[in-house]
Structures are given as C-alpha cells and as structure tokens.
Amino acid sequence: MPNNTEETGMERRTSRRRSFLNWLWLGLGLVALAEIVWLVVSFLRPRKPRAKAGGFGSVIETGTVDSFATGTVTAFPRGKFYLSRLENGGFLALSRTCTHLGCTVPWFEKEKKFTCPCHASAFDITGDVINAPAPRALDVYRVFVENNVVKVDTSIRIRRTEFRKAQVTFPRKP
C-alpha cells in the first residue's frame, strides 16, 4: 500500500499502468457481457416457421376465378385469410387478424362487414376501417391469378394503413 509520502516517478508510472489495466479489464468485461446478451437474445429469437404445402405460410390455391361471385367474402381457415371479391371483380386476400390487438375477425354477410368481437372494430369488404379502435386496415397477402386459378401467397403479410386501388388484383379478361 502506498502511503501519503510523495510518489516516486516509478510508482506513478506503475499506478498509471495499473489504472489502464483496470480500465482494460472493465472494458473486456463489458464486451463479454454484451456478447452474452447478444447470444441469449439471438438464441431466443423466433425461427422462421416451416410452411406445409397448402397450409399457412405457403402459396394457397383458392379456386377458379368464376367460383367467387362479386361482392362476396370467402374464408380460408387453413390459410388464415379471407378472399374478398369486390364489386368491380377484383380480388383482395385479407388477414383475419384484427389490427387492434390481434383477435380473429368474423365476416358478417348481412351487414357486409368484419366486426371484431374483442373491441368492436369494424372493417368493410376491402379491409378498410369503418369503426375504431383499430388503427389501420386489415393486412393483406399477395394475390395472383395463374391459368384462371386464384392463388394467395401467405408467406408475407403486407401491412397497410388504408385501402388503395393498387392493392387489388384483377383477373385478366378472357
């Protein structure tokens, strides 16, 4: 232990070296801690879900274009979406998950709207909000038509704030 007498040059150098080493250890310790946190968080992150063919997460064939009348909504429980055919003939694949807190919204044919049982948010046939508290329109999935068959890609859920015409897929005129 150094006493209160004047430090010699050598002692000063030693103490400087010591404090440098202490800081180094502290820094290394923090780096190690950060590494452990990083490791644990990466370990706990969800993995990519493996999609079964024909199930949620894959491309789902829904049926031929003509099998969906205009102004109707068809549920696809295995794909967790609704296929809306708008009055103008266009298709939209709507996620069934309410954008408020994640409840599943049922379609009410009589009132022509989706009403969430949890907090009474309501959405129209395009998924647009007609009743708060839902903050944005229902998410959509990409729809494409191949050989007159309507297909929905459920691997990517697309967030949107509101309905726009560009989101609609139209079957090519025969």
Binding site: P46, P77, H100, C103, P117, C118, H119, A132, P133
Partner: protein, 463 residues
C-alpha cells in the same frame, strides 16, 4: 456470543449418536437463551435476526402482508412442482393434460385450484403490501432501495401470473394472452420485435407455449427466490421493520427489542396457518375456471385481459394505444421508482398516512378519484367524439398526447391546490396524488372486469 460446545456423543448409543449429529440441540428449547441459540444454529431460521424491535410486532403495522406473500410464493412452488409432473406444454396436449389432471389424477383438481387461487391472491396481497409500505412511510431512508426491489418483486409476480395464464390453453387463456401481447406492438420502435420475441412468432402457438412454460417454471421462480432473499436481507440491514408511531411522536433510539423466537415466529406461524386454511377452503369449494379448448379461428366476445391487466385494457378503450400501453405505464413506473428518492419535508417513517393532515387529504383524494374516474369513463363513452371537433389532428395527438397532457396538468394542479389548501408538507401532497392515482387504477380495473360486456360496451353487472 458464547455458544457452549455440544455434549460429546462418545458414550452414547449409535441411534443417539446419529440423532445428535443431525439435531445437536434439543428440538424444543425451553429458556430464552436456548431459543436464541436454536434460532442462530438452525439452517432455515438463521436468516432471521435474533431479536426484533418490540413495537414492530404490532399487527396493524404490517397486517402480516409481506409474510403472507412469502407463504403464498412457497405454496406456489409446492403446488407448481406437482403440476409440472402432469402438464404437457404443447398446443395439442396442454388442454387435455389439464383435463386428465382434473379428472384422473388424485387430488389433481385440488392442487390446480390451490395453485390458481393462491396465484390470484398473491397479486392482491403483494399490491396491498405495497400500499402498506407506502402509507407507513417505510420507503424513507434507509429503506429506499427495498422499495425498488419490492417493485421488481411485484413485476415478477405479475409476469408469473401472466405466463401461467396461457398454460391451460383454453379459449380464455388463448385470447387473453393474444390481446395482452397484442398491446406490446404499440411500444414505439421495438414493439413488433418485442411482440414477436415474446410470442415466438407472429401468433400465439406452440412456440409461445414453450416460452411461457420456460419462463413460468424456471426463470421466474429462480428470479423470485433471488429477489426475495435480497428483499429480506435489506430489511435486516435496516434493523427490522419501521417502528410504528403516532404523528408527532419521536422515533425511539434505540428501540426495545425482544427475542424473535417465540415472539415473531409464533405470530408468523399463526398468520401462515390461517392463510393456508383460507386458501384450502376456497380451493375445496371453488374450481379454477377452464373454458373450451383454444381455437385460434374464433375470438370469444368479449375477450378480456387477465384481471390485473383489465385497468390497462380499460385505458386502451379511451386513449390511443401508444398512450395507453406505453406512455402512461412508463410515467407510472417512473413515478413509482422515484417515489422514495423525492426530497421530503419530513421523515414520516412509521406514521400511518404521514400526519393528521395527510389522513384527511388522502380521504379527499380517494373520494375525488372515485367521482372523477367513472365520470370521465362515462363522458368518453357516451358524449365526447373528439374525431369530430379535433379532426385536423392525428389520432396520436388527439387521443394520446392531448388527454395525457390534460391529465398530468390536472394531477399537478390537484397537488398544488391540496398543498396550498391544507398548507401541508410535500409528504402529504405526494401521498394525496398517490392515493388519487391508485384509486383511479382500481376503478379502471373494476370497470374493466365487471362493467364491460359484449363488444366492450358498458353494462350493469348485477342483472
């Protein structure tokens, strides 16, 4: 302290030798000195102090709440370990394993009921304990950090309850956890990431069940034990509990102390026995609820969060989600954490409600909150449609920022008015605000649990 050596076992028989190697002292100590030695040398008891201040034994100081919380945690460990032998944490098997537990396992239903009721009671008791500590000024130095640890324990108890809520995997569990974790998404910046991590994916499913089970049965129990040990150790370092006194009475230094064994331990055993008897009685007559198996395609109407989050859910009906699940809880948590570190006018340790004025102000604050909160809920549900007269503003500002600014300003105004009207110390003022906020939260919770029907519309519960 001089502790005499054990009598040498040389000349006794083998049985006596073995007995004395395990229990060197008589099992029932007869003298005060022997009791002290017993406490000191006993593995389980030696974390208790030898003596405690006599006045802290008064039941109306603690109401036995801290001890009750500890007993309930132990009860949870006991019943939880048993449940773990039967429960299967997968979506397909979870629900049926609960049915097997209830219908085929001997005492299975009773053990589940015990676990369920004492879990819910634990939330209530820990909350009351927090109130007790606050209103007896037990957060003043040297107990400031004990308050912070206590808040940590409260959070752990809530997380333990919440993670356990999912495990039966019935409709109630599935959708309550869906809406509760749905709230996470509104935390700015990390919300979606956090929600996905907690759920183990985008929706509640097998990964969520694994995560919740691991948290519920390993992470949280260990954390609870560590923090509880820390909490108890801090009490000892502070020289025991606060010594109760009437307003104006000085703190006696040093306090008169009495032996822990039997004075404190006997009281603790009585409280624990009565508590356990009550929990068993409730569990015999009332079964823990079990709904239909979880169905991700069908949300029941109404879907409610667990009752301890019902206040939060009620707030969600009135405020913008970012305000309700992020800003308000953040403000409340900060206020709670900083409460012991406010520079107070006086040291009101051990005085119920700080002073005579403090008592009157607390009553007024409680009455104010009892009137204002239901009034605001009704006004918001039936009268105000801010969308119409503030249509130029974004929802975040209209339903989030503006109400919060008004509320915070109103509470600060309330604080200043009360302080001025009663020319009170800031102890009394802070306490009045605390009472106001707590009573408001209780009202929100009660409304959320009992006054919300299908479609989350206001209903009268007694019909």
């Amino acid at each position: 302290m001089a502790i005499p050596n054990n009598p040498s076992p040389e000349k006794s028989g083998l049985f006596l030798q073995i007995w004395r190697s395990i229990f060197p002292d008589p099992l029932i100590p007869r003298s005060d000195q022997a009791r002290k030695r017993y406490l000191f040398k006993n593995l389980i008891l030696h974390f208790r102090p030898l003596t405690v201040p006599e006045k802290t034994l008064k039941f109306s100081l603690t109401w036995g709440l801290g001890g009750m919380a500890a007993v309930l945690v132990l009860l949870q460990f006991g019943t939880g370990v048993l449940l773990k032998f039967v429960y299967v944490p997968t979506p397909v098997a979870a629900y049926s394993s609960i049915e097997i537990l209830q219908n085929e396992v001997a005492f299975g239903q009773l053990i589940r009921n015990l676990h369920h009721w004492s879990a819910n009671l634990l939330v209530l008791i820990v909350f009351l304990h927090l109130l007790r500590v606050f209103f007896t000024g037990s957060f003043h130095p040297p107990r400031q950090f004990s308050w912070v640890i206590g808040l940590g324990l409260f959070s752990l108890v809530l997380i333990a309850n919440f993670t356990g809520y999912l495990l039966p995997y019935d409709q109630l569990a599935y959708w309550a956890v869906t809406v509760s974790t749905g709230m996470l998404e509104y935390i700015p910046g990390i919300g979606a990431w956090l929600q996905e991590t907690v759920r183990g994916g985008t929706v509640i499913g097998s990964a969520s069940l694994r995560i919740f089970f691991a948290l519920h049965t390993a992470v949280i129990p260990v954390a609870l034990v560590i923090l509880m040990g820390f909490h108890f150790w801090r009490i000892r370092r502070a020289g025991g509990l606060v010594i109760p006194r009437t307003p104006g009475e000085e703190i006696d230094e040093p306090p008169v102390r009495v032996a822990t064994l039997p004075n404190l331990l006997l009281r603790e055993v009585v409280v624990a026995s009565v508590l356990i008897a009550v929990v068993i009685l409730v569990s015999v007559f009332f079964n823990a609820p079990l709904g239909k198996p979880a169905n991700p395609g069908l949300s029941p109407n109404p879907t409610k969060a667990p009752w301890y989050f019902a206040g939060l859910q009620e707030m969600l009906l009135h405020l913008h989600p970012i305000a309700a699940v992020f800003t308000v809880p953040l403000i409340l948590a900060t206020v709670l954490l900083l409460l012991p570190y406010v520079s107070y006018d006086s040291d009101s340790r051990g005085i119920w409600f700080a002073s005579h004025k403090g008592r009157r102000m607390a009553v007024i604050a409680a009455i104010a909150a009892l009137i204002v909160t239901p009034f605001l809920i009704i006004i918001d549900d039936f009268v105000i449609e801010p969308g119409k007269w503030l249509s130029g503003l974004t929802p975040e500002i209209r339903n989030g920022l503006i109400p919060i600014v008004i509320l915070v300003a109103a509470i600060m105004g309330f604080y200043l008015m009360m302080k001025w009207r009663f020319s009170a110390s800031n102890n009394d003022g802070v306490q009045a605000v605390f009472v106001f906020i707590v009573v408001s939260l209780v009202v929100l919770t009660i409304v959320g649990v009992w006054f919300r029907g299908p479609g989350m519309k206001l209903v009268w519960p007694l019909r």
